[in-house]
């Protein structure tokens, strides 16, 4: 894919040169950026933990084609072209804007550029042109993927030449999205500091993930295209304010009926994006560079970074003191509690599922014909409210297993250097965090809603379900490969037995739910079952004591030592066994499934790197690999450079033992 794109640019090298850019450098920069895109973990693949697959870009584009196909069906529905294309452009523009903010922010606001390219003899113009070409490539690929199905269906359904006008209008729509997103960035950067801006981006990322998982589960059940037909997009005054209508108007003119406003809307569709782009380029973007710098230099005292002192005696320490019995447990509890609230990659991995967990019962119960009204009715049936009560039990094991991973996994050395007698206790601490921080909240919402619907009858069911959820969560972490909180690399795969475990974690809540369903049919059985269920939960929680260091070692967990050189897949493949194992201060028992950053192959070979100066080895591949690793690990734009450079430096300072 990348060689193909670069070959396309080679064809128009003259045009690039005309802008005053050096084509050779332009090509190198663009190639590096596209390679990074390809390896970046995009939201379409956010759940995949394998980030090194080379076809990343292609895979995520494939996902967009797939989503676009769903929307293109609207052309087959019996609606006017105006309505059909309004739906299509709403979808395309929404997805573009969300991707730009959620996925591409890291690239747009990339400050590694400044550090990697800054000291090199590259002209500012070349960097600018390369950057523009990169953004255009990204938007073009995305736009075409999203509308590929529409073009095919349109060519058959409307006119064989349909793709031509469509591509023209699509470009205008993309331009308008760029205008909107630019304005969004500038406003957001104007009023926030770097940290909070990243939080805003995170909200979009989570929203995008939820949309990606849930949109076509929910939307077809809720939205009726005929409603759009009836409201009369061609006449309503507010339709003028809705940009997708502008882009749909020309298609109504071509394939439907002319209406009074159509020409004005079409003119708006063609003129406004150009005006907007001009505005952004001339008026807004001179500030952009300054804003970017602002993102980078955040004063440590910046608001939002300083933790409020008052919170020290707050909920965490109250709950921690009340529920944890040993120092190890408290360590696991406190660390998980704090980091679960602050670790952005963790939030990005878990929050979409949490939102989805809340929606899940609604989706499962909703019927296309009756819409949301049907949900309430069904909720009142035993099967319905049990689904609501046990949705949390499906979610918590997943949250708990995510707590074991972190981009900062190397900091996990403390577990091994500190007097931790029973590592299982640390795990129990983080289980308690998950139960109290996430479980209580989610279960509380579900139970609260059901209480409002059903009344007092729900109370014994809720108590029983709460005990069962507790037990299920504990079992899930006991059968999982033991991971101390935030101590394992995301790219590390210890997948042995993962399938069986995942299956168990799906079946267990279902099975427990069925038992509960059965009990609900026997009079007084539910209140009576609460006591044994509670005892079982307590007993299972005690089982963590059996998780000692020996068990940890057996499962392949080993001290994430701060100086361990990383063994890369490349090194394993290319080097003889003696070399690939040399100097790795890991336990000999560990599994060879560890996969870490790319481009560090030479690091595993102690003889090779010792004499070469850091910069000499900061070749293109290494630099790309490093920056990529930062991206993979979810590091935010501002952090890239400093960490990448520092890490690179550390890696050379580190000795292989």
């Amino acid at each position: 894919m990348i060689p193909f794109l670069l070959a396309m640019f080679d064809r128009v090298a003259w045009a690039v040169r005309m802008t005053g850019a050096d084509y050779g450098q332009f090509r190198t920069i663009l190639a590096a950026k596209l390679t990074l895109d390809n390896r970046r973990q995009t939201l379409a693949r956010f759940s995949q933990q394998e980030t090194s697959q080379p076809k990343g870009l292609l895979a995520s584009l494939g996902f967009f084609v797939f989503m676009g196909a769903f929307v293109s069906f609207v052309l087959l529905a019996r609606v006017s072209p105006l309505v059909a294309f309004t739906v299509i452009f709403t979808f395309i523009m929404f997805m573009l804007a969300m991707s730009l903010i959620a996925d591409f922010s890291a690239v747009l606001l990339d400050t590694v550029d400044l550090i990697v390219l800054g000291p090199r003899p590259v002209s500012g113009r070349t960097i600018l042109v390369a950057r523009l070409a990169h953004i255009c490539t990204y938007l073009g690929l995305l736009g075409i993927s999203l509308s590929a199905a529409t073009m095919v269906v349109g060519a058959f359904q409307l006119h064989p030449l349909f793709p031509l006008p469509f591509l023209a209008i699509l470009s205008a729509a993309i331009a308008l999205v760029v205008v909107f997103v630019s304005v969004f960035y500038l406003v957001a950067l104007r009023f926030t500091d770097g940290e909070r801006f990243r939080d805003i981006v995170l909200v979009f990322q989570i929203g995008m993930s939820v949309f990606a998982i849930g949109a076509y589960q929910i939307l077809p059940r809720v939205v009726d295209f005929n409603v759009l037909e009836r409201v009369g997009l061609s006449g309503a005054w507010w339709a003028v304010l809705y940009p997708p209508v502008w882009f749909a108007a020309p298609f109504e003119l071509l394939f439907g009926h002319s209406f009074p406003r159509a020409w004005i809307l079409t003119a708006a569709a063609l003129v406004l994006p150009v005006v907007g782009l001009w505005f952004v380029v001339r008026v807004l973007s001179p500030n952009f560079g300054r804003m970017l710098v602002k993102l980078q230099e955040q004063s440590p005292q910046a608001e939002g970074l300083a933790t409020r002192i008052g919170r020290r005696g707050g909920l965490k320490s109250l709950l921690g003191r009340a529920t944890t019995g040993s120092a190890e447990e408290r360590l696991g509890f406190d660390l998980s509690w704090i980091l679960a609230a602050r670790d952005r990659p963790f939030k990005l991995r878990t929050y979409p599922s949490i939102v989805f967990c809340l929606l899940f019962p609604v989706i499962m119960l909703s019927q296309t014909d009756r819409g949301l009204a049907g949900v309430t009715d069904r909720m009142l049936q035993p099967g319905g409210y049990l689904l609501g009560l046990y949705a949390t039990a499906l979610l918590l094991p997943m949250v708990l297993s995510q707590i074991g991973f972190s981009a900062e996994f190397e900091a996990g050395w403390i577990y091994h250097a500190l007097p931790v007698a029973v590592p299982g206790r640390v795990l129990r601490g983080s289980t308690k965090t998950v139960l109290l921080r996430f479980g209580l909240l989610l279960f509380g919402i579900a139970a609260g809603v059901l209480f409002a619907l059903v009344g007092w009858d729900i109370v014994p069911h809720a108590i029983l379900a709460a005990c069962q959820t507790w037990t299920i969560t504990v079992i899930s972490s006991l059968v999982d490969a033991p991971r101390l909180p935030f101590s394992e690399s995301l790219t590390m795969t210890r997948s042995a037995g993962a399938f069986g475990r995942n299956l168990l974690m799906l079946l267990l809540p279902a099975g427990v739910g069925f038992v509960h369903y059965g009990l609900a049919r026997i009079p007084h059985a539910v209140p009576v079952a609460i006591v044994p269920a509670f005892v079982l939960a307590l007993w299972m929680t005690r089982r963590y004591e059996a998780l000692d260091w020996a068990t940890f070692e057996k499962s392949g967990a080993y001290p994430a030592s701060p100086t361990a050189p990383r063994i890369t897949p490349t090194a394993r493949r290319s080097a003889a066994p003696a070399v690939s194992d040399s100097g790795a201060p890991a336990r000999p028992t560990r599994t060879p499934s560890r996969k870490l950053g790319r481009g560090h192959a030479s690091r595993a070979n102690p003889g090779e790197g010792r004499l070469s100066p850091p910069l000499a080895r900061l070749g293109a591949e290494d630099a790309v690999g490093l920056a990529q690793q930062q991206l993979d690990e979810g590091a935010e734009p501002g952090e890239h450079l400093g960490r990448a450079v520092e890490r690179q430096r550390l890696d050379f300072v580190r000795e292989p033992t």
């Binding site: 440590p300 933790t307 360590l331 980091l339 900062e408 100097g583 952090e639």
Partner: protein, 264 residues
């Protein structure tokens, strides 16, 4: 190996320590005794096995052969008792940057049985001494390498351990902090604590260490006071002694070769 006269029992004792990673033997039989209340400089070129030795001594790394006793406990059997009595400042140690120094120190200190009040007071006092008083409640995301290193140093010492392992603790520290740490190492020894100090900073080692052990290729190649080493190699500075002892074949012309390569 040079015997060191001592009146106190050794706090660290290594006998025939061997460690391999796969087919690669990193430590090939280390015998070492460190008496209490001393500062031992543990030196060696990159890849000599320094950090591996330290990780074995503090109970982080298992699977070694030989006998390792620290603070009177067998590390292989009673790593937990060892960990309770020691402090460790790792080389290029990572920490959870999303935490504030105070939170980090609480987590670490909590495991050493320090009470919350005592911990907070100590942490603030120590942070203040290192010039981090105003940053105690700020997340470490924005910290420089030196600031993080200061937090790691505090974390390794806050529980008042009797034996401290410092693995290149100066990295990233500014000149002022380096001076403080040097004095601190000496004061720790005066207070009867033992310091096991790994470093490449020869002038610091020369000044603060009572005894210097140099390893290379997984073996001890020199051991004794600075004076003894000087007498043996007949050179004035530890740096020269070190390079004389550990130089490799063909190391002489490296700088010249380097220049030749970059000049094409």
């Amino acid at each position: 190996m040079v015997e060191v006269q001592t009146d106190s029992p050794p706090i660290v004792r290594l006998e025939g320590l061997r460690m391999s990673f796969g087919a690669n033997e990193v430590l090939k039989g280390i015998d070492l005794e460190v008496p209490a209340g001393r500062v031992l400089g543990y030196l060696g070129p990159n890849g000599a096995g320094k950090s591996t030795t330290v990780k074995i001594l503090i109970g982080m790394l298992t699977g070694f052969r030989g006998s390792v006793t620290v603070c009177g406990f067998d590390v292989a059997k009673e790593a937990l008792e060892v960990k309770r009595r020691i402090g460790y400042v790792p080389e290029a140690g990572a920490l959870y940057e999303a935490l504030t120094p105070l939170e980090y120190l609480s987590l670490v200190g909590g495991l050493h049985g320090l009470g919350e009040k005592e911990l907070t007071e100590k942490a603030f006092a120590l942070l203040k001494l290192f010039g981090l008083r105003d940053q105690g409640e700020v997340r470490m995301t924005t910290f420089s390498k030196g600031m993080k290193q200061k937090v790691l140093i505090i974390a390794g010492l806050i529980h008042n351990p009797e034996l401290v392992f410092l693995d290149e603790p100066m990295s990233g520290l500014d000149a002022n902090a380096t001076v403080i740490l040097k004095e601190l190492i000496t004061s720790l020894a005066k207070a009867g604590k033992t310091v096991f100090y790994c470093s490449h900073l020869m002038d610091v080692v020369e000044r603060v260490c009572d005894r210097i052990t140099i390893i290379d290729g997984g073996r001890i190649i020199a051991d004794g006071t600075f004076e003894e080493l000087k007498a043996r190699v007949a050179d004035a500075s530890l740096e020269k002694i070190f390079t004389q002892l550990t130089r490799k074949e063909g190391q002489d012309g490296v700088a010249a070769d380097f220049l030749r390569v970059i000049q094409g």
